[in-house]
Each structure stands twice: as C-alpha cells, then as structure tokens.
C-alpha cells in the first residue's frame, strides 16, 4: 500500500528528530513509528543505530560541501554572497537547517566521528568565505580571521536567546555591517 521507504527517507526523518531533540533522541522505534512502519524495516536498511548515525554524518557532510561550493562558485558580488550566507543563518526561513547545524555541532562534542565531520565541513566553509574576503581586498590573515568571526557569529547567534524580532533585526543589520560591509572599505 505504501510506497517503499528508501534509506534516504529514514535518514531524512532521523535528521528531523536530530533537529528536535539531539542525537540521543534518535530512537529507532520512535523513528519507525514516525514513518508509519515498524523497526523491522529499519534493520533491513541499516546494520544498527550506529550505522544510521554514520550515514547521517556522511550525508550531511556531502550536502554541506556541495552547498557552500555551489554558493561561492556562482558568486559575482562577494558582498552580496556574504550577506546571503549570513542570511541563511539569521533568517527565520530555515529553522530546520539551523537546528540541524546546531544539533550536529552538539553531537560533535560527544562523538569523534561527528567532530571529524564538522571539521571537514568547517574547513571547507572557512576557506570559501576567506576567499570572498580576499576578493574584497583583505590580506590573507585578515581574511581568515574575518571568515572565522563570520562563522562564529552565524552559529553563536543561534545560541543566543534574546530580544524581540524587530529589535533583533536591527541588531543583526548592524552586525552584518560590522562583519561584511566594513571589510570592503579599506
């Protein structure tokens, strides 16, 4: 009756659970129930829970790298690209992606494998953004520092729980200026 579930489907739903409650909240039977099947199916596709987690990391790593490469490759205006990237983390339009990002990073604090994965992704993203800053005329060291600050801000910001929306919008606008626009005026 139902269309067959692919490993992708399990992984996707597992990411939803990850976003909602962290790695530890990924329970196989709960996951199966959310997909309206029983856990028997899970063990067809996956060796065990660890296998799922591994494949989630691979999946996430690949997508993140594809995405950042795509975004920078298509770049014409570095400032616009930086502002766009910034928006990915500050906009309320992508709460899920944001939650996943944080959850994976939280996961990395307990798991070597996850830590290794985010290290790969971070290197890629920092290199990409540092490149943008260089094309705005920053020297190598400053470009790297600005990239580092840039991503720290992106992630750290989702950890701060303050302010009302309009107030926040104002603050973030100014932050964007400090992070991006200022670097071009030199």
């Amino acid at each position: 009756m139902n269309i067959k579930l692919l490993p992708e489907d399990w992984i996707n739903e597992a990411f939803a659970m990850l976003a909602e409650g962290g790695v530890d909240s990924i329970k196989i039977e709960v996951l199966a129930k959310r997909l309206n099947v029983t856990k028997g199916g899970f063990y067809w596709h996956f060796k065990n829970r660890g296998d799922l987690l591994e494949r989630m990391l691979e999946h996430w790593c690949q997508r993140r790298i594809e995405t950042i490469r795509g975004q920078v490759a298509r770049e014409t205006d570095p400032v616009a690209t930086l502002n766009y990237l910034l928006g990915l983390y500050t906009d309320q339009t992508n709460p899920r992606g944001n939650a996943i990002e944080l959850a994976v990073r939280s996961w990395a604090r307990q798991s070597e494998a996850a830590a290794a994965t985010i290290a790969v992704v971070d290197r890629e993203r920092l290199a990409a953004v540092a490149g943008l800053f260089r094309s705005l005329g920053c020297a190598d060291a400053e470009a790297e520092a600005r990239a580092y600050l840039f991503y720290s801000y992106c992630f750290g910001q989702s950890l701060l729980a303050v302010g009302h929306q309009d107030e926040l919008d104002q603050i973030r606008l100014l932050c964007g200026r400090l992070l991006v626009t200022d670097s071009a005026h030199k």
Copy 2:
C-alpha cells in the same frame, strides 16, 4: 566513613556529566556511582530527575549573573575587561565552563525551562557588555549590536572545530581586534 554529600555535590557532579555528554547523559544511577554512593541518596536530596535539572538551572543562572556583574563592577578599563571576557571563552584554561555553557544552550533547545534560563543570563550579559561598549563611545544601537556580535562570537567559536593552536591564536587575536579594539577608535 565518607563525608556527607550535600545537594551541591550532586549538582556539581551533574554539571560535569552535562558538560561531558549533554543533559540526556545525566543518569541518576551513573551520577550516584560517580559519587561512590547509590541512587538511594539521590532521592533523599531530590524529588526526582526533573528536580535535579531545575536546581541545576537555578544554580547556573545565579552563578552566571553574579559572575558577569562582578566582572563589570570591578571594571576600570573597558577594553581590558572586554578582552578579559573574550579570553574566558577562547582560552583553553576553562574547558569545563565552556563545555557547560554549550551544553546548557544545547539543552535549551529541548527544554522551555532551560531556554528561559539562558534568556535571563543572556539579557544580563548583553546589557553588561553593551555598557562597556557605550563607555568606549559607541552609540546605544551600535553598543548593543557589538555586544550581540561579541557573545555570538564567544559561543560560536567553541562550535567551530578547525585549525591548529598557533594558527587559531593568530586568528583569535585578529578577531579580538575586530571586536574590541576597533570599537574604541571612533
């Protein structure tokens, strides 16, 4: 034979577990074992697991507020204070405090109570740091934005997993300049 355990002791050890593995890793029996007693004692001091978690939040909230107030009250040179605060998060000297900070924030994503707690702490800290920036001559809006950027950087930075130590030191030095020193030259 053993000196009696106070609720504080339980809470402290629970924070250690929190730092190591997140809220979900706080298991009562494991906690008791780490204190070399059995869980019977736990239920003498605490109504149940939720009670422990609540009291941990209260404890954390109080300490964080005391700390930030103390640090700012004793202030003579705002730049030095800002750099000192920055150091608290970047130095490797306080990995535990850092880990707790992140773990509590991660916890806040699953729990209303934790979210409310960090909101209180964040408000306090942002107000304190914004005050420092104002005393460096920043206008209100800019001071708030800089404070927001400042703390986002602090937390976000512990989420980034890249670079070797010497490289990182260099980057962080520059970030400190972008965040703090620059704001004074206006």
